[in-house]
Amino acid sequence: MALVTVRRHRDRGPGIRGREAAAGWLFLTPAIVILGLFLVLPVLMAAWVSVSDWTGRGSPFAAGVHFVGADNYGDLLATPGLAQRDFGTAIRNNAYYVLLVVPIQTVVALFLAVMVNQRLLKARGFFRTAYYFPSVTSSVAITVVFLFLFSSTGAVNDVMSYLGVHGPSWFADPRGVVHLLLGGLGVHQPPAALAGGSLLGLSWWQWISGPSVAMCVFILMGVFTTSGTFMLLFLSALQNIGAEIDEAATLDGTSGWQRFRFVTLPMIRPTMFTVLTLGLIGTWQIFDQIYTGTQGGPAKTTLTPAYLSYSASFQNQEWGHGAAIAFVLFAIIVILTIFQRLLLRGRA
């Protein structure tokens, strides 16, 4: 059969491999053009803008635009000033967001997956749907709902007042939770050791502020919207384990927790890996919620690098800074992802 095929194609000119190559490139053209034009080219163009003094007027390649070396990066990382302080603030805010959302959403997702994976559970489909549903909806819609739930006269404060607690005005509250805790212990002023300006224009006291009350609502929202997605990932990993292994462990007389800790957990390691990596990459990019909800306020405590990159460029016309922030953010994500992989691999 193959012989016949080859002969027929030989009779027709350029040969099967030649025509296949042409077809291959033709099939790939739309994807290559789009990804090239809107993913690869932008990175190169932004690389130029990040080392230029372009102000957003005309083309960044016009004659009046100059090469300024690493000035834009210097403004963010080295030169004391507003740009550096904003950048430091954004990094601090987002770092707390990542530090809290990634572990919490991973634990919640795993917990939900284990719960809905029980074989004897009734209405499994309902529970899975309920937990996954927030992941389907747009972050804009969910932010709108949360703005309402956590407004000063909103549902959450309503519930809290039944319990006799006077709720804060969540989205308008810039106080850091670590500062609040320290305040509860009587520490209202920074100890001398923490008062000095130290890193990226913020004093150590400002660095340890913790997420602001407003940021805490975003953290809660982050867990609410992504735990369902990761629950599904864990669920398919759990289903791959199979009942036999679990039953074998049960016969060995292990407790539920021991089975989970020494049988289940090691077997879903690869998924844990994936969830932590996706979580880390995703949480460093929080933008939609900030744009919809607080625009970086109150007192810049929900400013994030992604939003700062946007506002520096589009609102303040500091395109060099905006592009430089994007590249630094990229570097942070890459470095932390590699670091995390090494860390998890080392413990295996």
Partner: protein, 277 residues
């Protein structure tokens, strides 16, 4: 093991699951209820799930404003992007899995590399290119950059590799060209993957916000996400106007919800492809 005995743990399990389910669903119920309340009532009784006086005032005001335009724009963009992605990504996936030519490995490495770039990092860069190409403030600038997605190509390629090659050989003997083989033989067999791409693309383009912020400013090109986000941040109006905002949030959730319930079984089982950005 012991189906007949009532497990003491079972009660606790169900209690925990039900409480969690309520927590996950309640925000949406609160959204629905308050969108049918008057503004004073929404402020006074935000938790009431049944409005004391049901009013559709919020919806009427939405539809008198720009809201229908936003909705139409979202429909136009999401429909075009979904159709384009299904076609282009399956074509690219087919070429990368089935056609032999020099440079294929390189292109594949490029696709994987592109997947690693965080989208938010490209916000400013994409604006620069769109602006330079004269596509700013046009449907083309809003749609074309979204027409291909590396992750989708990846999914299609993997799926095509699971289809046996023998199905194509018969068509080859019959003298079918590459496109015919792709379109009438292999693509119909890739239905599950095509549906996955369809769901992911629609959900992604319907819920997309940042790309529309950087690719247009003309109010006539505002999509639902951008319009509602600006409504929420108070850029377009004074006062809290929560019923209106909640009504807008609710309506924009309906299309993805419908899609979700149609394909629920597939989505919940093929979880690997359902990662939200």
């Amino acid at each position: 093991m012991s189906r007949t005995r009532v497990r003491p743990g079972a009660v606790v399990t169900y209690a925990v699951l039900v409480i969690l389910a309520v927590l996950y669903i309640l925000p949406f119920l609160v959204d629905i209820a308050n969108s049918f309340k008057s503004e004073p009532e929404a402020a006074a009784h935000p938790l009431g799930l049944v409005p004391q006086t049901i009013t559709s005032a919020a919806y009427r005001r939405l539809f008198q404003a720009d809201f229908p335009t936003w909705f139409m724009n979202s429909v136009i963009v999401a429909a075009t992007v979904t159709a384009g992605r299904v076609l282009f990504e399956s074509m690219a996936g087919y070429a990368l899995s089935r056609l032999h030519f020099r440079g294929r490995g390189l292109v594949y490495a490029g696709v994987v590399g592109v997947m690693a770039v965080p989208p938010v990092v490209l916000l400013i860069p994409k604006f620069l290119v769109i602006n330079q190409l004269g596509m700013y403030d046009s449907y083309s600038g809003m749609i074309i950059p979204l027409l291909a997605d590396a992750a989708g190509i990846f999914i299609m390629k993997n799926f095509f590799e699971s289809i046996p090659r023998s199905v194509e050989e018969a068509a080859t003997i019959d003298g079918a060209g590459t496109f015919r083989r792709f379109w009438s033989v292999v693509l119909p067999m890739a239905r599950p993957a095509v549906i996955t791409i369809f769901i992911l693309s629609f959900q992604a383009s319907w819920n997309e916000l940042s790309h529309f912020i950087i690719s247009s400013q003309d109010p006539r090109l505002t999509t639902l996400t951008k319009g509602v986000a600006q409504l929420a941040s108070g850029e377009l109006s004074a006062g809290t106007q929560y019923p209106i905002k909640l009504a807008a949030a609710l309506i924009m959730t309906i299309p993805v919800t419908v899609l979700f319930f149609i394909f629920q079984r597939r989505i919940m089982n093929a979880s690997a492809g359902a990662v939200k950005e």
